[in-house]
Amino acid sequence: MKAYDLVELAGRNLREAVLRNSLTTIGIAVGVASLVAMLSLGVGLQQVFGKRLGRSGLFDTVIVASKQDFRTEDDRRNRPNMQSGEIKSLDDTARQTFEKISGVAEVYPEIRLTAELRFAVDGKAERPHFAAITALPTSANNSEAFEDLQGKFFSGPKAEEAIVLGEFARELLEMPEDTRQSDKQKLSNEDANRLIGKELTLRYAERATNNESAIAPSDSNKAKAADEAGANFDFSVVRREKKLKIVGVVNTEPYGGMRSVSRGRVFIPTGLAESMNFMQPSDLRTLMRASKGKTYMTLIVRANKPTQIPVIQETIKKMGFSTYSMQDASKTLRYVFIFLDMFLAIFGSLALAVASLGIMNTLVMAILERRREIGIMKALGASDIDVKKLFFVEAGAMGVLGGVLGTSLGWTIGRVINFGTNIWLQRQDIPTENFWYVPWWLVVGAMVFSVFVSLGSGLYPASRAAKLDPVQALRHD
């Protein structure tokens, strides 16, 4: 049979049995729709939770410390054969190595210090405040804590800017003591505006490298360069002042490494903090150990995805460093991420099976109904292959149509479920989320899938139709 006859016959067969064929097509569409709906919800849920958990900063970071950090004097006495040479120092070389591990988004030092901050509220005289200062990488902008940021995030990694915690903001504004702890409540915009754009003076101790001269050079960059070269590990401490512009007020402290005893109340960009060469506790240790160059107390390694953490952590551990991540604390948390990945696969294959069975069923039923027609065609000279092709083309056409319909239907179902869930969430006072998400690959995939499954499911009925005994089929009733 020629191609145009095949298409024409298939077309008229489809048109002639509108009811049966539209039911078949709807069967395919429902299968594809359930696939699309389940997958889009799966992808949506994964995105929502992945994003939420990822944004909390808890699950996508590994904290790396040099091994000696955790060695006590006792350890040292008990294990005297442990050479200091075995202990890798957490320096810039190590930092660069971590950056090269696949899946690593960024590596930054954990910088915390307590310093004096001077602030003049509403043009009054400057008053000193003491606060823990924490450096934040620019990526922290995406963290959950900054969702309700008042004002702006740092304009750059080295911007001389600061973001203050709501509680500290109240202190700066000299609000009554008893209102300060209510940090769950946002500062009023008016109050926030009394701070944002204003100057905060930071007084701190700088670790200034001695270059032969006993007096610290004022240029911290030069000091750093000398430091890195390892030419000199002898330094002095210099008192400095830095004027910072308050750009924002945040109500919850973003997660950034191991929680210190004191909470960070003022945040500055990591780049700025690094260039300021704060005096750090590790500096003292460096001095005592006489190790080369500047070392970090802790480095925070952030991964692109929480699921990559175990591998990254293992890699770093093998390099000889101490590592810690939230995922250590709870193995089940890792299962959550694995489950989210499996969720897609499980529900996808369920929907897949349902869809294929539906298609297969409807097409086999169609053949039972069309036995006589097949018998007639064979008696008139249709070959087995002609019959097979005809059924195959019909299955394919229904597959394409069912795919288009099913994809849009699944999309709609996803939307409706999403809509319903959001109404429910709103009632529970939980911020709404898009649990439903249809990425382009899902649309294309669902279409391709429905055509392939229709053809695949059409294969069996088509060969059954082709093998149909015309004598049996034509036996008069």
């Binding site: 008139l380 000279g381 087995d384 008069h476 009733d477």
Partner: protein
């Protein structure tokens, strides 16, 4: 229009059906020769194997043993693809229950065999017209089978059977569902085709009167065997007394 050329020659054809442990011999060692241009009537009681033999000759079924030679080629040796080709070019079939495709109008029904035979599209319309004219249904081109009487449906089926210009016309009780007047109409048409086109006709019928009137030869089957091969007796049937009904 009879010649001495063998159109169909069956040699000890058997067709068995296995029903659990017992075997039913629907056709049980039939050897027959039908010459080119003959109009043969196949008679016999119900269940005597007439339809089974017809389907074997039509290439819709395969014999359990024996050979069926049509113009010298053995159907039993053909692949299913070759059999399909044989059906579309050599055979035209008519059935008791007409077997028109109910969703197609007459023109489409008649065109259907030409689709399988890959007849040029340009040629098809003329051939449809010719065939329907021959059975005097030119006015009903766009009607569906359900809109026609039984006789008209059978005429349309006849047109469809002839459109690929077959050498053999196989008709299984073509008048079985028709009243005697309409049946005669069909028989006249078949006879006309046999005499004008020289088509070899094998027709199954219950009605001996019709067979006597139109056929050039009567073959009697009983229990899957040839009881009487008509004037052309074969060795297999020569000793069997021909008393039927």
């Amino acid at each position: 229009m009879r010649s001495d050329l063998e159109a169909i020659k069956t040699i000890d054809v058997r067709r068995h059906y296995k029903m659990g442990t017992n075997v039913i011999s629907a056709v049980d060692g039939v050897s027959l020769t039908i010459r080119d241009g003959e109009f043969a009537a196949l008679l016999g009681t119900s269940g005597s194997g007439k339809s089974t033999l017809m389907n074997l000759i039509a290439g819709l079924d395969r014999p359990s043993s024996g050979s069926i030679l049509v113009h010298g080629r053995d159907l039993a040796q053909m692949t299913s693809e070759e059999l399909a080709k044989y059906r579309r070019h050599t055979v035209g079939m008519v059935f008791q229950s007409f077997n028109l495709v109910p969703t197609m109008n007459l023109a489409e029904n008649v065109e259907l065999p030409m689709r399988f035979a890959e007849v040029d599209r340009a040629e098809r319309n003329d051939r449809v017209q010719d065939a329907l004219k021959r059975v005097r249904l030119s006015a009903r081109l766009t009607h569906r089978p359900s809109e026609l009487s039984g006789g008209e449906q059978q005429r349309a089926a006849l047109a469809r059977a002839l459109v690929n210009r077959p050498k053999l016309l196989l008709a299984d009780e073509p008048t079985g569902n028709l009243d005697s007047k309409t049946g005669e109409e069909i028989m006249n048409l078949i006879q006309e085709l046999n005499s004008t086109l020289g088509t070899t006709v094998v027709m199954v019928t219950h009605e001996r009167a019709l067979a006597e009137r139109y056929a050039t030869r009567m073959i009697f089957l009983g229990d899957g065997k040839v009881l009487d091969a008509g004037e052309q007796l074969t060795t297999a049937t020569v000793n069997i007394a021909g008393g039927v009904q």
